[in-house]
Symmetry: C2
Subunit: 112 residues, 2 copies
């Protein structure tokens, strides 16, 4: 496989991929793709990642049943991060939350 | 400085931070914060990053004048990525685009 678009993977062969709900605009999660995960995401209908903890390809939703249907993919100006606009078929977060970003950080969390 | 909220920085001392327009929901960029950049972002009104290319603290907008005013910060369920909701005072991207994610990737970009 070769990508024509000069996608830059890091020294581990990964690129961060933000997932955003295509309808609501809500940012749902940040995952990492390797070349094969990106190829499958671009070739198919659903989001694939590379799981850094399990060190294997990860078809998002394969255990939970909550897949993310891809609408469009975008790369940033430096070709080293990806934005996926898609539609989740259920809660994206393993906690059952709609988004993984459900915990706010405030100034009180910093010790001066 | 100490963070109470178990923020997980990677082996380089960095954490990826997504910036989203708090009003429009548009995803604007992905940057990286070190502990000090996060502290400054939480303590002040504007977004700070750590520039991996220049290897220094980066007050976003310090050269362009296009700062990002912070509205709220969120961490994900695994404490290893951050979502900043904020308001940019001008185009976020160095190309002059409103967002860094202005280039679409399609199936045609994959060689089977």
């Amino acid at each position: 496989m070769k990508l024509k678009n000069n996608i830059k993977f890091d020294e581990k062969g990964l690129i961060p991929a933000i997932v955003q709900d295509a309808d609501t605009g809500e940012v749902l999660m940040l995952g990492y793709m390797n070349e094969e995960a990106l190829r499958r995401t671009l070739s198919g209908d659903e989001v694939w990642f590379y799981s850094r903890s399990r060190q294997e390809l990860w078809h998002k939703g394969e255990t939970s049943g909550n897949y993310i249907k891809v609408q469009s993919l975008w790369k940033d100006c430096e070709d080293n991060s990806i934005l996926v606009k898609g539609k989740p078929t259920g809660p994206v977060c393993h906690t059952g939350n709609k988004t993984c970003f459900f915990q706010q950080i405030t100034k009180q969390d910093v010790d001066a």
